[in-house]
Symmetry: C2
Subunit: 154 residues, 2 copies
DNA sequence: CGTGAAAGGTCTAACTA
DNA sequence: TAGTTAGACCTTTCACG
């Protein structure tokens, strides 16, 4: 069976393995999926050039580096302040993600900080662009390190 | 200058490089940070064992695989349904992240799906546990692939 | 997609500041 | 304690079947 972009079962297996350990040597990856090292490398290069694989990232424990606070800020931002806000956005270092959501020009920001004072500072800097509503993260009971679940149901 | 966990400037450089390209060979990584391959490998192993580096993941383009819908669901869940919900959570395949937030036993779920029908199905399955409020992601104007910004300000 | 040889990376251990 | 060097081994790459 062929999937989107002509991705087959072998590609799916490769993606699962690399999602869990991006540093796997091609030889070992090939062993796991049942392919020679060169055939494996060829498929990985194909997946990279199709942008199915976007890159390889080390997952860094920000808490261990002193970034102990994660929060979500929902910013309701009326029409006029939309474009200036998007320009301002990249200058906000603590903002790791910004999503534009359905429902009244709302943005959801995921922010990571090392003190509550920094959170207060961030909120103040957002005020000119809209009304922020902040929720701090108490715990993260689920964070799938990988997309293996989704890949299984392809 | 020494930082949390005895992390110094060289470690910081290593983390930045690996955050951007987890597959860099130690030889090349060493060249970039000014260390021999074996000294580089030693430091990386140290960072791994301290759990500063949690792992290496291929970043997979879910849209290319047909998962075209991302949404956030906020679930307000009263005391009695809290524990059953946490048990139910891992069985929900589309849920990529779940955060417990301040403010009235609320959970924020990030979900990835391939159709609106699946979103409706998910929402129905959440109903026994609380009141879900769903916002679909229209666009993601900022998604830092790496934590380089945060690492710079260490 | 597999094979094989050359190039280059990794690993371990002994050595040095 | 932390880094370098050296040599054995392994991986990657690429031309060819």
């Amino acid at each position: 069976m062929t999937l989107a972009y002509g991705i087959d079962l072998l590609d799916k297996k490769i993606l699962k393995e690399l999602a869990l350990d991006a540093r796997l040597p091609f030889a070992e990856l090939g062993r796991r999926v049942g392919l020679s090292p060169s055939a494996t490398a060829e498929r990985v290069r194909q997946l990279e050039s199709l942008k199915v694989i976007r890159g390889y990232r080390a997952e860094i424990n920000l808490e261990a580096l002193g970034y102990s606070i994660t929060a979500f800020v929902r910013l309701t931002c009326d029409g006029g302040r939309y474009r200036p806000f998007l320009k301002f956005l990249p200058t906000l270092e603590p903002v790791q993600e910004c999503h534009h959501l359905t429902g009244g020009d709302a943005f959801l920001l995921k922010v990571v900080l090392s003190s509550v004072a920094q959170l207060e500072d961030l909120i103040e800097r957002l005020l000119p662009y809209g009304s922020p509503t902040t929720s701090m993260v108490l715990s993260t009971p689920l964070e799938r390190k990988q997309v293996v679940g989704l890949l299984n149901s392809l």
